[in-house]
């Protein structure tokens, strides 16, 4: 089961977020780590290229002052380049996650790939301080380095899938559902949410409670996405108690559910076709 984080916005509307689990966070971490390594490799290649220009007499590089004659320009260049490299690697290692979480509002490239985002406990966007705290805490979370065992264990035992850095910074990692949702659901919405939809949403057999109607309805909406077995099993499970209560016996539980939610009033002929969308009867 996916775990939910429910918060209330200042507009007093409840928002629910799906918490990111260990698996997706691990995957995002792997992607980000690969990127970090790639950046470091690029830095190394750059340094080696520079060093290649002066490697012919590398021994002089370690020469003690006064013995090897005046230091040559290229060694000085090499030395400063190496120094910059050391600083750059350090900055990349500690700054990568911080930078991306600040600039892209809580998503490193890896998190973006997996559809994850870091937010603060109240549902608010991440702050610079929170990003700094949660990512410096990697010093502990990554132990034993680089296996992130501490993080893994705390995520498993935490009710909100938090690693130590998340505890200290007051953040959670959530799963943002497909960002290009509109495009994808557009078609579905057109077929479901257009004129035929209200009938489905508003009318139902008076013997049902609103809750029951909602359950039946969500089954009917989703049934085409289920495989045959699950679909039949679910229909049976939902229909059985209702049939018993109403004293009806039907062979086809799905058809029964369809009639409950779309009672054959007006000039409808009582849709019974299997696999048809609930709206079929009105067409």
């Amino acid at each position: 089961m996916e775990e939910q984080l429910v918060i209330e916005t200042p507009e007093q509307v409840e928002l629910s977020y799906e918490l990111a689990g260990l698996g997706s966070r691990f995957a995002a971490g792997v992607i980000d780590s690969i990127l970090v390594v790639l950046v470091v490799i690029i830095l190394v290649v750059g340094l080696v290229f520079l060093a290649g220009l002066s490697l012919s007499s590398f021994a002089d590089f370690f020469d003690v002052e006064g013995e090897g004659g005046p230091p040559q320009f290229k060694f000085r260049v090499l030395s400063w380049t190496t120094a910059l490299f050391v600083l750059a690697v350090f900055a990349v290692y500690w700054g990568y996650f911080f930078f991306f979480e600040v600039v892209t509002n809580g998503r490193t490239p890896g998190k973006k790939e997996l559809g994850l985002r870091v937010i603060r406990d109240g549902g608010y966007p991440i702050t610079v301080t929170a990003a700094a705290v949660r990512n410096l805490m990697r010093a502990v979370d990554a132990l034993p380095w680089p296996f992130y065992a501490v993080a893994g264990v705390t995520i498993l035992f935490s009710s909100r899938s938090k690693r130590l850095g998340d505890y200290a910074a007051g953040t959670v990692v959530i799963k943002e559902r497909v960002p290009d949702y509109t495009a994808k659901t557009d078609k579905r919405k057109r077929s479901r949410a257009q004129p035929e939809q209200p009938g489905l949403a508003e009318r139902y057999d008076p013997r049902l409670s609103a809750k029951e109607a909602a359950i039946v309805r969500s089954f009917l909406l989703r049934r085409s996405e289920l495989n045959k077995e699950a679909r039949e099993r679910l229909a049976r499970e939902i229909a059985q108690p209702l049939m018993e209560r109403m004293g009806v016996q039907e062979d086809d539980p799905e058809a029964f559910l369809l009639r409950l939610i779309n009672p054959p009033t007006e000039k409808q002929a009582g849709p019974t076709g299997r696999g048809e969308p609930p709206s079929a009867g009105t067409r």
Partner: protein, 318 residues
């Protein structure tokens, strides 16, 4: 308003909101204009109320989920914090950090106390029994000390090596301080370990030099950068001890609450120490390992320490 109206009327607005948010979340595309931001704010509020309505009307789960995610994305855009600026940086080092330092000085003092206690212990241990040094220091270090000629300034690095040396020291020290802060989350135990370990190392080294009759050499090797460096490390360790303390004694808060509240403050302590570590590493790379007179080096060390102390005591006073 029933569901049909809701969807019919608002669909275009939801899609517009989604499109604007999408554009904002992409790094490359151009940012939203002021007018578009105002539009986002308006559309967001509409979508939020639509979400509430959709729940009330018992809309299909898909629609509720769609609206929920749309509003969530809007929420994370609307309620984000102001990005920090250079002004904030100046205010931090000009006021916030020195004040914080004066407020939290007991932690810094405690860190210094732990460090010095272990340093003293190791010093006495090695002083009394020279074989102890083999338990405390790596063999290579001992040999290095033993093999060196006994005049001051004998450890002189090639000029070419200094930038590398300095950068390695810099990243190492910042890394150690960073860990000292982060390890505080393990109830401060990790921080104490770092203090104890490094304190014992320094004490043993000092005693070994002293036994070899190179006490002054040791001072000229350590003090020029060491004064500032140790002060900075004590501050960073103070940050870790602060975390450990609130975890042990969270007072009226829950442990989690106390941690969330004090972690940013402790982070500021650590961050405040970073520039001092940079300066110390520059001294260690470019002044300590040179043939400059020992007196000059020690003066530099003393001046750096005094400047840091003055900063901590005087800057940003209310």
């Amino acid at each position: 308003m029933d569901l049909k109206d809701l969807i019919g009327k608002r669909k275009a607005q939801w899609e517009r909101l989604s499109e604007l948010l999408q554009r904002e979340s992409r790094l490359t595309s151009k940012r939203l204009s002021a007018r578009e931001v105002a539009e986002v704010a308006r559309l967001y509020r509409l979508a939020a109320s639509d979400l509430a309505k959709a729940r009330l009307l018992d809309a299909p789960e898909e629609l509720i989920r769609y609206l929920n995610d749309l509003v969530a994305r809007g929420h994370s855009f609307i309620y984000r914090s102001k990005p920090s600026s250079w002004g904030a940086l100046r205010r931090f080092y000009g006021q916030e950090f020195p004040r914080l330092l004066r407020r939290r000085w007991p932690y810094v003092a405690a860190a210094a106390g732990v460090f010095l206690a272990f340093a003293l212990g190791a010093f006495v241990g090695v002083w009394l029994d020279s074989t102890t040094v083999y338990n405390l220091l790596p063999e290579s270090v001992i040999q290095l000390v033993d093999s060196k000629p006994r005049r001051q300034g004998e450890v002189v690095w090639s000029e070419n090596l200094r930038p590398v040396l300095s950068s390695v020291i810099m990243t190492n020290n910042i890394g150690v301080s960073l860990r000292a802060y982060a390890y505080g989350i393990v109830f401060g135990i990790g921080t104490v370990y770092i203090l104890a370990f490094n304190g014992a190392l320094l004490g043993a080294l000092a005693a070994h030099f002293q036994r070899e009759g190179m006490g002054f050499v040791f001072c000229s090797l350590v003090l020029p950068h060491g004064v500032l460096e140790l002060m900075a490390i004590f501050v960073a360790c103070g940050a870790g001890l602060r975390l450990g303390h609130v975890l042990f004694c969270p007072g009226e808060l829950t442990r989690k609450g106390a941690l969330v509240r004090s972690a940013p403050e402790a982070l500021r302590l650590f961050l405040g120490a970073v520039p001092a570590l940079v300066v110390a590493a520059l001294i260690e790379g470019f002044i300590t390992p040179t043939a400059l007179p020992a007196g000059f080096k020690l003066t530099v060390g003393g001046a750096a320490g005094a400047a840091a102390l003055g900063y901590a005591l005087l800057v940003g006073r209310e």
